[in-house]
């Protein structure tokens, strides 16, 4: 979970920094003045030591490679409080999402849950598998026994379209 120490000997990657900034058009990271409103309200701070203001600062300094390969970017709960409260519209959530996208592009290790979700979408159109539910009385129910309508899974053409857009550069 370690991040680059700002005093370390790591070299900033200016190109990667530009790449992140270009994904964030309209969200001016450079305007961040480290007020810490994001971090003080961050849901993941308490448990996982996510410090959104640090992430924004590190991107500004060009330490994008370190961030993209760090586990820390996968600890965001996406509660969106930082977007709401950022007075400078730097919105760390969007920075984190851009870093996650970069990590995927670079084929860095991505949490399995996300990979599973995408392969399910490819298979069935949905990110979740249909489940039977067990009540407290240990009775098993499914959509049919609950008299819920059949799921209208997407038609076949969806798969090709989704593949196409996933492969788009």
């Amino acid at each position: 979970m370690s991040l680059t120490d700002l005093m370390s000997m790591a070299k900033p990657n200016v190109e990667a920094r530009e790449k992140i900034l270009s994904k964030l058009s309209g969200r001016e990271l450079v305007n961040c003045f480290q007020c810490l409103k994001c971090t003080s309200g961050c849901t993941a701070l308490k448990l996982l030591e996510l410090k959104p203001h640090e992430i924004v600062k590190l991107v500004n300094l060009g330490f994008v490679d370190e961030l993209a390969s760090s586990d820390i970017i996968w600890t965001c709960v996406t509660c969106l409080k930082c977007v709401q409260r950022c007075p400078q519209k730097a919105s760390p959530y969007h920075v984190i999402m851009a870093l996650r996208n970069l990590a995927v592009e670079r084929e860095v290790k991505v949490p399995e849950g996300y990979l599973k979700a995408v392969s399910r979408i490819l298979e069935s159109g949905l990110a979740e598998a249909v489940q039977d539910v067990v009540t407290k009385k240990m009775e098993i129910f499914n959509r049919e026994s609950l008299k819920l309508p059949k799921i209208a899974f997407p038609k076949e053409s969806f798969q090709a379209a989704f593949m196409k857009i996933m492969e788009e550069r």
């Binding site: 919105s91 996300y114 995408v118 979408i121």
Partner: protein
């Protein structure tokens, strides 16, 4: 009045009680739900992987809604509501993205329509149906119940997108609960997140967030917690036991979807509202509702 409805994945695949209660309660308020001809993931998990593809999935939902010819789309899931709202915003601003997406949709014979109005259950009932009409429809008051509400995160933030309620002081769900005759309480942790999104990568932390909030509510002495998002329902109801184990607390707090309570007030049978599916001790709450 006809309204298109997009359920998203979680409701269709496991949070059946939410779907059942919406399907039962809405017709009693003269709202006819029209399912989309197809469904697909809104794009939420894909946002972390490839934002273009996530926005495509959300745009596809709007294109499917467009096919119904209806102007209003009900999206009962908080996450889907956010992802679709943000995609609408991105397609408006990012020409390269929108061109690409519209092109791929066309290949499937689908047409993107940004003018479909998106509603969540909360603002649909509060603002579209109207609080007074909800009140008028109540046959069985929930008077005597003291309930806490959990609005969730993504339908109230971030305001630039136009959200369902105020980002820092949401009131609509509380007002809807009051409309059924129950009392609601304010509490400091009201805006704390259920943690569901962390289930993809850090499930213990996710359960710890849910467990912490449930412990607070249990100590507050409320009769139950009201939710209106399938993720929050999953964390607080379906996974309540696991959440308790994670934080070392014995949790037994009834958790129900708002639409389940609404259904009760409208005189709908418990089984039709999926109340037998709740994993939390919902009977504690039901026995307090006067017959």
């Amino acid at each position: 009045m006809k309204v298109a409805v997009f359920w998203g994945c979680r409701i269709l695949t496991s949070q059946y009680a939410y779907e059942m209660s919406v399907r039962e309660a809405f017709p009693k308020l003269n709202i006819e739900l029209v399912d989309l001809s197809e469904t697909n993931c809104c794009g939420d998990p894909v946002k972390s992987m490839k934002d273009l593809a996530a926005n495509y999935l959300a745009a596809r939902v709007l294109a499917l809604a467009n096919k119904t010819g209806l102007d209003n789309l009900l999206v009962p899931c908080n996450r889907c509501h956010f992802v679709i709202s943000e995609a609408k915003n991105v397609l408006e601003k990012n020409e390269r993205f929108s061109q690409k997406i519209i092109e791929v949709l066309k290949e499937e014979g689908l047409e993107y329509n940004p003018n479909v109005r998106i509603w969540h259950v909360i603002d649909f009932l509060h603002d579209f149906v109207g609080l007074d009409n909800v009140k008028k429809a109540v046959q069985k008051s929930l008077k005597g119940l003291k309930l806490a509400t959990h609005v969730g995160c993504q339908i109230i933030r971030y305001s630039d997108l136009g959200r369902v309620d105020d980002a820092e002081n949401p009131r609509k769900l509380d007002e809807l609960v009051s409309a059924l005759g129950a009392e609601t309480v304010d509490y400091a942790e009201k805006l704390d997140c259920c943690g569901a999104n962390l289930m993809y990568s850090h499930s213990d932390s996710a359960l710890s967030l849910a467990g912490t909030k449930l412990s607070v509510l249990q100590n507050l002495g409320v009769d139950g917690l009201v939710v209106s998002c399938p993720d929050c329902g999953l964390m607080f109801d379906s996974k309540q036991k696991d959440a308790g184990t994670t934080v070392g607390a014995k949790l037994d707090l009834p958790v129900a979807y708002y639409t389940q309570l609404l259904g009760l007030s409208l005189g709908i049978e418990q089984e039709k509202l999926g109340l037998h599916l709740n994993q939390s001790p919902i009977n504690q709450l039901l026995t307090k509702v006067s017959p």
